[in-house]
Structure formats: C-alpha cells, structure tokens
Amino acid sequence: MTGTETRDGSEGAASEPAIQQLDQVVIRFAGDSGDGMQLTGDQFTRTTALMGNDIATFPDFPAEIRAPAGTIPGVSAFQLRFSSFDIHTPGDAPDVLVAMNPAALKVHLPHLKKDGVLLLNSASFRSLDLKKAKYDVDPRTDETLDGYRVIEVDLAKRTKEALANSALDNRGKDRCKNMYALGILYWLFHRDVEPTEKAIAQKFAKRPEVVEANLTAMRAGHAYAETTEIFQTAYQVAPAKLASGTYRNIMGNQALCLGLVAASKQCGVPLFLGSYPITPASDILHQLSGYKHHGVVTFQAEDEIAAVCAAIGASYAGQIGLTSTSGPGVALKTEAMGLAIMAELPLVVLNVQRAGPSTGMPTKTQQADLLQAMYGRNGESPMVVIACSTPADAFEVGYEAIRIATKYMVPVMLLSDGYIANGSEPWRLPDVERLPPIEVSYASPDESGAKYAPYKRHPETLARPWAKPGTLGLVHRIGGLEKQDVTGDISYDPANHQHMVDTRAQKVANVADDLPALQPIGERSGDVLVLGWGSPRGAITAAVTRLQSDGHKVSAAFLRHLNPLPNDLEALMRGFKQVVLPELNKGQLAMVLRAKYLIDVRSLSQVNGQPFQSQVIEDFVRSVLKEVCE
C-alpha cells in the first residue's frame, strides 16, 4: 500500500478514522477450501471493477474439492490487486492478508509485506486447529506475528450473534463468516456493498434465507469495522484512468469462449465442442454448453479421445470442431490430432495448461506443454500453435484460432494456462462491427462435371477445399493413410509422400505471412529484449516498465503465434545485445528460438506451479544488464 494519509478534520474526529488515499492495494483471502474464499474474492473483485479501479486477480486453490478441514493441503486463497493506474499483475506480495485459520496463516504469512495488515479469525485457533496446521506454539503468542498490524476478530462468534434470528442451522450460519470478513474489508477499503447484495440475491435466488443470512453477516461485519476502533485508518483507492470504452470484468476461460462464439458468428459456421472434464479447462465446457441459443453443440464424451474424434467428425461435416482439455488430455488426443493434420481439416484444440508431468498439480499453473504442442505427435506433423497471455487477450486469441483453422484447413493448438483461465481483469469490450472478417466457403461441384479433387489446393494458402458430406457430386474418401495430392487416392509413391510432407509443413509456415508486425514495449533496439509468451506477460510488462523508467535500454515483446513464429521476430531479437525469455517451464521456447535462429537466448525458468513475480524478472534482467553493459 502506498499513499498519503490525511486526517479528516471534521467534528467528532476522535472517533472518525483517518482516510488514507492509496494508489494500489493487494489483498489475499486465505482459508479452508470450505470457507468460501473464492466467492469472497470474486465478490470483492466485481465490486472493485464496478468502482472503476484497474484490477488483476489470482485464485490459488487445491485440487481436492474438500481436503481435510483445517489442514495445510486444504488451504484455498484468492489474491487481488486493485489500483488507480494501469496494472499488469495481481501483485507480488499482499498488503492485507485475511487468514481464516492457522493453516492459512502458515501457508501465506511468509508472503505478507512487513507492516502489512493481518486479519485473523481468532475462532479457529484452538489447540486442535494449531495441531492440524502443524504449529507447536500458538503463533499469536510468540514472535511470529511481530512486524504486522494484527487484527483479531472472532468471526464465528460474531457471525453467529449477527444471525441470531436467521432460519439457518448453526452450520449454515457458520458458513456466512466469510461474508462477515468481506463486510469488514468493504468498510476498510470504502467499497460499495450494493453489487454484492445484488449478486448474492441472484446467486441464491431460490433460497431467500441464505441470501438474508449472507447479507446480514456482511452488513454486520461492515458495521463492526465502522463502530469498533480496531482500525485507525480506512483506505480509498481512486478509479483508474483506463482507455475510454465499455468494460466488463472477465476470466480467461470466459473470454476464450466468447472469442470462439464471436468467430463462429462472424463466419456463420456453428461451433461443435467435444470435451471431457478436466481441471482447469472444464469451465469452457460449462460455458459453451450454455450457448445453445447461439447454435453451439457441446458433447461431453466418454473420454478425451472420443472428444477430439467427435470434434474431427464435426469438422468433416462442415462445422467448427473444438476440443478443450489440459496437458494429460492433449497426450490422449495426440493420435487424433495427427489424423486432423493428415485429413487437413480445421480443428481447434484448447489446452489450458497445468503443472505436470502426469497428473502433476492440476490447479497450479505452468507453461510446460509448448514442446508437446509443437512436436508431440508421430511423424512430421506440424501444427499451428498460438497462445493467449491475459484473461482479456483470450478473446482475441480464441477468435484468431478459428480464423487460422478455417483459412488454412489446419488444426490449431491454443495454449492458455490455469493462471489465465481463472484470473480476471477488466476487459474493454470490442466494437462488434469492427471484428475482422472470417470468410468460409465450402466446395461445390465443378461445372464441367470433372471428378471432385479433395486435395486440389488454394494457390496461396495451400488449403484444400472443405466439402460437406451431403453435397451432390462431391463424394470422396479421406483418411489417415497418405494421399496422392489433388486426387486424394491412397498413395505410397515416394515422391508424393515427400511432396505431401513438405506441403503440410509449408501450409503451416504460410500462416506467418498473414500476421501483424510485433509491437514491442519500448525501442526496437537496445541492451536487453525481454521476450514472453502466455501468462508471464503481465509480470514481464511490470518489470520492464520499471526498468525503462530507471533509464535502462530494455524492451519487451510478446508472442501470440508460436508456430509459425512471426517473420519479423529474428530482426527484432538481433536489435538487442541480449534476449531474455522468462517461461514457466524449463526453457522450452528458448530452446526453439536458439535452434531456429542461432541466437543466444537467456532463459529464465520457473516451474513451481506459481506465476512469475515481476520482481524476479526485474532482478534477473538487472543481472543480465550488468553483464552486457560491462
């Protein structure tokens, strides 16, 4: 928290808190999986977005639906940062930590800034709670909490008192304690309670007693903070000066779905999603299944393979076949993707990456599926790979995936990750009239009566025609066996196979001729270029902006297209003494760039399941700057 303190000089100032103006705050809510931390964070986010602040969020939760209550594996957290200026990340360290139990305190206290505000739920510090969190001594009684501004509130007792007249049973009442805590924070940060009142009323519309209890608890928390003198100061964060337009707060998976639907509407071809539930991609299946009124068909298949194969069947029938999954699911779909490459059908594979290998850490983020996306199939089977970098960016990248898939008749792998999928930010809504056109045309019979040639290619893109079964005069056979170009007949001819392998590669390469120029942040030459792809974009932007304001010759550029790479990338890289590439993997894109361009790209690797902190990137670039400027 940074800002200036102003004391309000009006009458009765003795009981009025000081109002401190801040330009940004980072809050982390942490509690048990069952404590409603995600809901609490979500409500704070919505309210804050509507109040005009810029905002970035980072939900961080366990894979277990309900790990044993009160234990360290069961801790669920939601971090949000809001500000009066343009921000790119949910912040490195929180200013305020809400810890609902000792386990949450244990996991998250190390991240809290010194002098930060720590709101503790004192109700859950009984000896059993401490034991579950593996505290030998009550951390409130030793030096553990020294240097923090600790506020203890017995949330369980106070919530129960506030809900004395509620129809809910004791367990139901206890579950409202997160709303009591939210009420306290709403007072502390001058937030409107109205958006939450509306949202809760809507969410539990069928259970008025739940709505009443939640809102009563929230109002009681708000009143408690206002009337007691536990806080000497309340804080205000002015609205951010964002670019003009209409905004909506959006999560990555949501934006991705909207981008896909927008592209489908734009080209007039319905979407077909074949999917099998998997964290953190399932929300795509949920959301698209709610878009039936836009003609979207969703198919929850018996497994990952059936999901992609049904999508291929849909594409073959003339629809836009999609499949959504995460890394382990991509592994299962591998053979089918090879079929789509061979059959030269449009297909969009959405990989919301998570920490691997194997089952790994399903709810934690990573970018380690890049090489799988690029090379993880048998034979020479190049595939277009693109990636989104922020929740709002997912809209454009979803749209782009369909543009490429239909224009070039190729499968496209779209990489997102858990951090983008579940994170949220304000999204400046696009002008629908100005979305770029996507034109799709299907094959029609040759008027001369010539036999239909399923592999006769577009002279520029090399795309083959898209013939819908059911069309008179176009009967033909395709499949996974090598085809004679033009005719599509099975062929084992050596020269033809060479030609077809080359052609499939060229088709993917041709996508690069169609891309906008890279737009670096900063100059096109200098000491260090920080290159990024995917979710580290925010942390890189924050780090590079700070370095630039310190006068360093550092620029940043971000890659949406990973295969093929943009044609102007090499020249941009060669304009700098050193290229640095932070990735949440062991240096996968760095390896690709080094191999392709023979440029000594420096990899900054992190594979701990967490997003980059901008400070880590800044420190790394500073050390590189020291080397190159010596």
């Binding site: 836009h294 194969c309 005069g473």
Partner: protein, 336 residues
C-alpha cells in the same frame, strides 16, 4: 461425376474406382457385395451416405464405396461418426469396424455409442483374429487359441459382441454371416430401418490367419443343425426338418427340446422389454447349442442426435441474443 438425383442406383453405382485390396478369398468381399446390393435396393443416394471406419482389414471398406468416406484411426470410428451425425442428422452414417477395432482398442466408444443411441449403423466384421497385424488373437478368439502371440494357446476369455451390445443398452442388435448373402442383406436393411444405433455382427472368415473359424456351424453339411435363425414371433426351431428347438428353464437356462417337447420351444420376441432372453441366446455355449443369427433385440428409444439438436433448436427459439448483447452481458461500466 454429378449424378442425376432421381435415378435409382444399381449395385454397380456404389462401387468406387479403387481396386479392392483384400486377400483373395477373404470374407470381406462378400460383405462388400452384400452391402452394395442392399444399398442399391434401399434406394440410397451416394452423396447422403457417409461410411466411417477405424483401422484393420475391414476398415478399408470406405475406399471401395462410391459414397462419402472417412478412414479414421484405430477404434475411434464411432466417435468420429457421432460428431458427423450430431452435426448433420440428415446424413446416413455407417460405421465399419472389426473385432479388434470395436471390441479391443475401441471398446469404450462402442459401449457409449450404444448407451447414447446415436443414429449410426455399425457393421462389425468379426473374424476372431487380428488380420492386418498378421495373426494375433483378438478379444473374440476362443480360449486356447494358438496364434503368433499365443504360441501355447490364449488364456484370455473371449466376449460376445452381441452380449456386450445388449449390456450397453443397444437398441438394435443382430448377427449374420459373410457367406449368407441374402440373410446379410436383410440384416443390413433391417439395421437401416432402425432409427437409433444398429449393430450387426458379421461372422467373417479370414482365410489367411483364421481360416474356417466358423466352419463347424456355417458349413452347408452341418448348418441346419448347428445354426438357428431368429424370426420375430416364431418359435426357436432348428434342424433339417425343424425337429429341434430351444426352450428356457425357470432359471433362464436354455435347453434343447425335441419330439413332444418341441411345443415348449420359446417364441422369439425381438422387441421384448427384457434383454434376458437375448442375453441368454448370445451367451450360449457354441459347442452345445446352435449359433443364433438374426435380430436379437430391437427397441425404440429417442435418438441422441435428435435430443441434442432439439435442445439447441429450443434454446434458439426461446432466446435470441445478438453477439453484442452476448459480449456486453453482465455488469459493465463506462470509462470516458
């Protein structure tokens, strides 16, 4: 070549210009022939017919048919076909598969296709061997089968594709034999007339790796005693002079009746609500009982692709939303 849509096609019209490349003498030839004949009789149109296959000898089938065809990957034809049928329910979609393709690698897709009742017609060529990979045992090979991968005999227990289809809720389940052309054609036609998933198991001879696998009951000299044709509404009778029959005891155990007992022969009802009689016939010991061919089960059930598209059409009817309204939904705010 664009054909005039109205002309009724002949068997020849269904032949593609590709050379058929199965081993000479393979049972697949007679199946191809029967399917082409049945399709012509049914008045099918080339451009409305889609044939989708997986991997294996049988799966080369689409290349030989002058229709739309998609030769996909091992075991996955039902999934690809499901995507096609959901996307365009007007298409006439056939799946060609084998005992390895459908029962082994693709077993999961097979049972879930049955369960959903997608409007697909599945022809399952069962030769009780892996042919394309040159002679390993399959999930339908009998225990003790000596093959390249089981030199001391297979210790696996086989299963019956018919029993599996019945167990998975199949709504049309039938069996025929490659060489019984007219019976096979009638089964293809019966499958065609069924709205939901129709599976026809076709006993097919692989003359290279499993020659004569069915000879002990299909051979002309023994056929009347060793096979029984299921006829809806008629008693289960077999034998040269239909002098034998099949009855069930109170535990639903089948037994053979003759002479005075013949009147106890079970009257076959392919549309029976309970799958129990069909299951009992599908799991009879081949060494003791005659092998049934014909329709084991036929049930009317809502088609999956219709139910799915009905929801989509309903949603479109009750809610029109412009792209702008979709994007600008929820809580929005203006920044000037």
């Amino acid at each position: 070549m664009t054909r005039v849509d109205q002309v009724k096609l002949t068997k020849k019209d269904f032949k593609s210009d590709q050379d058929v490349r199965w081993c000479p003498g393979c049972g697949d030839y007679s199946i191809l022939n029967s399917v082409q004949a049945a399709f012509a009789d049914l008045g099918k149109k080339l451009h409305e017919t889609v044939i989708i296959s997986g991997i294996g000898c049988s799966s080369r089938f689409p290349y030989y048919m002058e229709t739309y065809g998609f030769h996909t990957i091992h075991g996955r034809a039902p999934s690809v076909a499901t995507g096609v049928k959901l996307s365009n329910p007007d298409l006439d979609v056939w799946v060609i598969t084998g005992d390895g393709d459908a029962m082994s690698i693709g077993g999961n897709h097979f049972i879930h296709t049955m369960r959903r009742n997608v409007g697909l017609k599945v022809l399952l060529f069962n030769n009780r061997i892996y042919g394309l990979t040159k002679g390993q045992y399959s999930p339908t090979s009998p225990t003790g089968k000596v093959t390249k991968s089981t030199p001391m005999g297979s210790v696996d227990h086989p299963f019956s594709p018919i029993a599996l289809a019945l167990g998975a809720g199949g709504t049309f389940v039938a069996r025929s034999v490659d060489m019984l052309a007219s019976h096979l054609q009638s089964m293809v036609k019966r499958a065609d007339s069924h709205a939901g998933t129709a599976v026809v198991e076709v006993y097919q001879n692989c003359n290279i790796f499993n020659d004569g696998a069915y000879k002990h009951f299909t051979d002309k000299t023994v056929r009347s005693d060793r096979m029984i044709e299921l006829r809806h509404g008629e008693p289960l009778l077999f034998g040269k002079e239909t002098q034998k029959g099949i009855a069930f005891d109170q535990n639903f155990q089948p037994y053979i009746v003759e002479g005075d007992g013949l009147s106890d022969a079970f009257v076959w009802d392919e549309a029976a609500e309970s799958p129990a009689p069909a299951m009992a016939l599908a799991t009879m010991d081949e060494a003791i009982f005659p092998v049934p061919i014909g329709v084991f089960r036929r049930q009317e059930k809502v088609n999956y692709e219709q139910a799915v598209n009905l929801q989509v059409e309903h949603a479109k009817g009750v809610r029109q939303e412009s792209l702008r309204d979709l994007l600008y939904a929820g809580e929005t705010w203006r920044v000037e």
